[in-house]
């Protein structure tokens, strides 16, 4: 905790620079966060467009580049590689130099990677809309981009692992997660994008595709997310993590069990059944590991519950953790063969995916942005705390409603299918749920645009910028974060 303790405190003293501050390239952090917001906006709009197709009101003209199916690919890939990856990089460029007390390997390389990664994500979006998708869920990145993206991931890993390699002695928890995530992300990307395409066919490739989908969440997104939580939560609460022992259990449990579950994506498929059984058992084991991590973080919060009210980042983080526990508990049930009979292929799974990606990791990264943006821009706080509050409530309620709505929709669809209802009747029964999904998505969309507007106005308040009018200055609040 010593390194993290050296980070700047909350509230006052934002203008002052600490030793760790001089190690951090603030414009780079800001650039990644802005890119994350841009891709989040595009991804959410794509998702909203796709949801309108389900109501027979798709607004775009009938042309292949506006094909709803292709925009669905932009939605999922934009979230993974545009929003999550950029926001994670922003957080890492802030946290890793503070944890290691060293700058990253090379500032020029960092900026090169920033530009290169945006080019990769844009090329992916263009490639998907032009019809160059690879038939691999969440790895639809066109095959001609895959080698470039892999090279980028390797360079990112090197950029961060070099300062980490200079550490001596036992390392803080966050660094364990970061090291593992850098190694895993490279391996997962190479495995998923190349093996099923060039080396393995048939049902065995299905096993690898399942492993890829799962590992992308479990070995890229999850460890980076938890690593950042282990950094930001103690810094903001100004108290150490409750139990170091539980941190150890959480990390090593995740590292062991998480990769062993890939096949649970294709239960009752032609993949050998004993492997499917194995994947079910390890998935349930993960829930036990997750519980230790959740207990650790809520015991850390114990005595500082007021922070949920007073600190917007903490509110985002802990809401995300409640959703994390919810989604993992759900997973322990839905992975069982009894649940699979009904819910597989239904909207239940779509609800699960939205809760994981937006409700958990999206919330953590949004909370992190709420914490970081005034600090990297150099303002005393946000332009409007009221807008921040609206952002939280619209996004949180939108996500919760979408999750519950799709959960119920999935059960309805699953049972109607089992009862051999005609397919069009199942569609008719689903429409009310799809309507609610579109409404909840709209709430999420509005929440984000309030956030983007707020960030834009905050940026205008940066030191050195000419205030557009004096009234803006009066709106400045002391930092609430």
């Amino acid at each position: 905790m010593t390194a993290a303790g050296g980070a700047s405190g909350t509230g006052s003293g934002l203008g002052a620079t600490t030793a760790a501050d001089r190690l951090v390239d603030r414009p780079l952090v800001f650039a990644h966060l802005v890119a994350a917001m841009v891709f989040l906006a595009v991804s959410l709009l794509a998702g909203f467009l796709f949801s309108m197709q389900f109501l027979q009101h798709y607004p775009l003209p009938q042309h292949e580049i506006f094909s709803p199916g292709r925009w669905r690919l932009v939605h999922t890939n934009g979230v993974a590689y545009g929003f999550l990856a950029n926001a994670f990089l922003g957080g890492l460029y802030w946290a890793v130099p503070r944890l290691t007390l060293r700058p990253v390997l090379h500032r020029g390389l960092s900026w090169f990677l920033f530009v290169a990664w945006q080019a990769i994500v844009l090329a992916t979006a263009v490639g998907l809309l032009a019809g160059h998708a690879q038939a691999l869920e969440w790895g639809e990145t066109p095959v001609w981009i895959d080698p470039v993206a892999l090279l980028g991931l390797i360079l990112v890993a090197v950029n961060f692992l070099v300062p980490i390699s200079c550490l001596s002695g036992p390392m803080y928890v966050a660094i364990w997660y970061f090291i593992a995530a850098f190694v895993w992300t490279v391996l997962v990307y190479a495995m998923g994008n190349f093996l099923p395409q060039y080396f393995v066919g048939g049902a065995a490739a299905g096993a690898i595709a399942g492993l890829f989908i799962h590992d992308l969440v479990g070995l890229f997104v999850t460890p980076l997310g938890w690593g950042l939580m282990y950094y930001f939560v103690p810094v903001i609460l100004k108290k150490p993590i409750w139990s170091h022992g539980l941190s150890l259990v959480g990390f090593w449990g995740l590292a062991f069990f998480y990769p062993l579950t890939g096949i649970h994506h294709f239960l009752y498929s032609p993949i050998p059944m004993f492997l499917q059984h194995g994947a079910v058992i390890t998935t349930i084991a993960i829930e036990l590991v997750v519980t230790t991590v959740i207990v650790n973080f809520f015991m850390t919060l114990s005595g500082r519950g007021d922070a949920l009210r007073t600190s917007m980042p903490i509110r985002w983080f802990y809401t995300g953790m409640v959703f994390y526990f919810t989604t993992c508990l759900q997973c322990a049930f839905q992975t069982t063969l009894a649940f699979q009979r009904i819910i597989h292929f239904t909207d239940w799974v779509v609800g699960h995916a939205h809760l994981v990606m937006l409700g958990v990791f999206g919330f953590w990264l949004l909370g992190m942005m709420v914490y970081l943006i005034p600090r990297v821009v150099g303002t005393a706080g946000w332009y409007s705390d009221v807008l921040n509050s609206w952002h939280y409530w619209l996004t949180m309620l939108g996500t919760l409603v979408m999750f519950l709505d799709l959960l119920v929709a999935g059960v309805v669809q699953g049972y109607m299918w089992r009862e051999l209802s005609p397919w069009d009747e199942v569609l008719a029964a689903s429409v009310p749920f799809w309507f609610v999904r579109a409404v909840s998505g709209t709430a999420i969309l509005i929440g984000q645009f309030l956030f983007f507007y707020n960030a834009w106005k905050t940026w205008q308040l940066r030191p050195g910028a000419a205030p557009s009018h004096a009234a803006l200055m009066e709106n400045m609040q002391p930092a609430a974060t």
Partner: protein, 233 residues
């Protein structure tokens, strides 16, 4: 060890990943390693589906422009291109391609999927799918006529009013006849499951308008016996 760089890097990062890769990927890979993976040409050589011939008879000009004549080579070409279209337009995100042994799926669609059905180049990467907004398609071949598919791709709600499938106008030429893309995707869909001998019909759907491919190749001769001509509505 549990908090050191080497421990985290080697044991968690590389070791546990390798272990999982061995169990979750190499093991199934090894199990099916002995099964040959058919090329598209081998698949095509095992029997041209009658619907491909039917397309040649219904849309002679368009077919000639797109493929030339009916042959194993042009059938392979249609399958390959149809598969490309299926992937590019993300059909596989709303249509699965495997029948599970549970939830009465064999009553709805037919025989439960087996691993060997996926040992061909048109399942690389495998198209199990992830969501069933529309029905599973692995037993779709021969279930509906080419006319149905043409009308459906032009405007799905004209055929199924509650459908949420988008229209695919880029599968058609300026006159409204299916173009190469349209004929290829129809050929691909009509091929799916054509190797299965029989499957159930439900909710008043009669038997398919065309004999099934798997019966014999001679069934090709019967193809196109239905109505003639006719573009999309």
């Amino acid at each position: 060890m549990f908090e050191s760089k080497a421990g985290v890097f080697l044991i968690a990062g590389l070791g546990f990943f390798a272990l999982a890769f061995l169990v979750m990927a190499v093991l199934p890979w090894a199990i099916y390693a002995g099964e040959p993976e058919l090329t598209v040409e081998q698949v095509a050589a095992s029997g041209i589906v009658p619907e491909f011939v039917d397309l040649a008879e219904r849309y002679p000009e368009q077919f000639k422009r797109a493929f030339g004549t009916v042959s194993t080579q042009t059938f392979a070409e249609a399958l390959r291109f149809g598969h490309e279209v299926y992937v590019a337009d993300a059909c596989w995100h709303c249509h699965s391609q495997f029948v599970r042994p549970v939830s009465n799926e064999d009553l709805r669609w037919g025989p439960v999927s087996t691993a060997l059905e996926y040992q061909n180049a048109l399942q690389r990467p495998v198209l199990f799918g992830t969501r069933r907004v529309g029905p599973d398609l692995i037993r779709e071949g021969g279930r509906r006529s080419n006319d149905w598919h043409v009308a459906h791709f032009w405007q799905p709600t004209n055929v199924v009013p509650t459908s949420v499938m988008p229209p695919y106008r880029w599968f058609f030429d300026e006159q409204g006849y299916p173009n190469k893309r349209g004929m290829s995707i129809i050929t691909y869909v009509q091929w799916l499951g054509s190797w299965v001998k029989e499957y159930p019909y439900y909710h008043g759907e009669g038997p398919p308008s065309l004999p099934m491919a798997a019966t014999t190749q001679s069934s090709v001769a019967h193809a196109g016996a239905g109505s003639t001509g006719g573009g999309p509505p």
